[in-house]
């Protein structure tokens, strides 16, 4: 009976020389697709669930308003509006909208979309006030941010 001869193989190594390339690819993807967070959120909010969501084709038209409860307890428990940098009052919204519109390219100025990120627990009164102000300055495209229900 023949014996199996153990073939001696030299140690095989997986080449890792392409690893940096892969990682760089990932890196560039994240650099391109992400925006840098400049400041922490001022308000806490949990957006409601919905099923029939749409996604605007032109992302640069989107300007965000956040409505929720202040993160800091010192500021009370009343829902506040934040434009990402600071708290704003309902009366400041026309000014905010005008400023946001300034940033858009000339031929898209009338197509601004206001993305309203509102907490599901706030009252419609506040939402209606915001909408009223947006109507005043003709910023009438509104997108209620909501998430798909987890299955």
């Amino acid at each position: 009976m023949g014996k199996f001869r153990k073939t001696e193989l030299g140690e095989t190594k997986i080449s890792t020389s392409s690893l940096p390339d892969i990682v760089f690819l990932l890196l560039f993807f994240f650099m391109v697709s992400a925006t840098i967070k400049t400041q922490d959120e001022l308000v806490d909010y949990q957006v409601p669930n919905a099923e029939h969501l749409t996604k605007p084709e032109k992302k640069f038209l989107i300007k965000e308003l956040t409505v929720g409860f202040p993160k800091s307890d010192l500021l009370g428990k009343v829902p506040r509006i934040s434009d990402g940098q600071r708290f704003i009052q309902v009366d400041d919204i026309p000014q905010w909208a005008a400023k946001a519109r300034e940033e858009l390219p000339e031929n898209y100025k009338d197509q601004m979309i206001v993305l309203l990120k509102a907490d599901l627990d706030i009252n419609m009164g506040l939402v209606a006030d915001i909408q009223e102000k947006l109507r005043e300055v003709n910023a009438r495209k509104i997108l209620y941010r909501s998430t798909e229900e987890p299955k």
């Binding site: 940096p20 409601p48 029939h52 969501l53 992302k59 706030i122 419609m124 009223e132 509104i142």
Partner: protein
């Protein structure tokens, strides 16, 4: 004494390159947020400068939904416990084309009105609005023989798909009216 010349074939060690790149990658992962922009879209009515001229609207062309501050639902004058069946009713109402006496005359004239109270929770409002949009999307999707999911994935930047999208909505505008809340 002579110093022996070293080998000139030295290569820079690239083994740590991956580590550097990983470090950068992790930095960007932590420091960035992806923009999330999915949501329910809606177009608000234009601001009226003067008192609106009261154009009487036929009762049959209006599908009224109200939510009060206790999150109770009132659909066409009837109190409801939940949203079951609302979607189908809206579809029937919109696509009635004058058949039933108390439903809409044409899809063009049909308007769904959603009225809230100032104390209504935003969540309940979105829930109902979602149903209404769902009803319209189902109508649109059926018009061009797609499922609702496929319909929502249509890309408007593609001319062919945009044509399909326009075709689906022909003659059926999404008339969802958000009435100003009452106190």
């Amino acid at each position: 004494m002579r110093i022996k010349k070293r080998d000139n074939n030295q290569e820079v060690n690239t083994g740590s390159m991956a580590d550097i790149a990983f470090l950068l990658l992790i930095f960007f992962l932590v420091a960035t947020t992806l923009k999330q922009e999915k949501g329910l879209n809606l177009r608000l009515p234009p601001k009226q400068e003067e008192e609106p001229i009261n154009v009487p609207m036929k009762e049959r062309n209006l599908f009224k939904i109200m939510i009060n501050s206790n999150q109770d639902l009132l659909v066409e004058g009837e109190p409801r416990k939940n949203l079951v069946g609302l979607k189908d009713e809206v579809k029937l109402f919109v696509l009635n084309n004058g058949k039933e006496k108390n439903l809409s005359e044409t899809p063009k004239k049909a308007t769904v009105s959603l009225k809230t109270n100032r104390g209504t929770k935003y969540e309940s409002f979105i829930e109902v609005l979602d149903e209404l949009k769902g009803a319209y999307y189902e109508i649109y999707a059926k018009n061009i023989g797609l499922t609702k999911k496929e319909y929502l994935k249509l890309r408007h930047s593609d001319p062919d798909q945009y044509k399909l999208y326009l075709k689906s909505k022909e003659g059926i505008p999404m008339n969802i009216s958000i009435a100003e809340p009452t106190f």
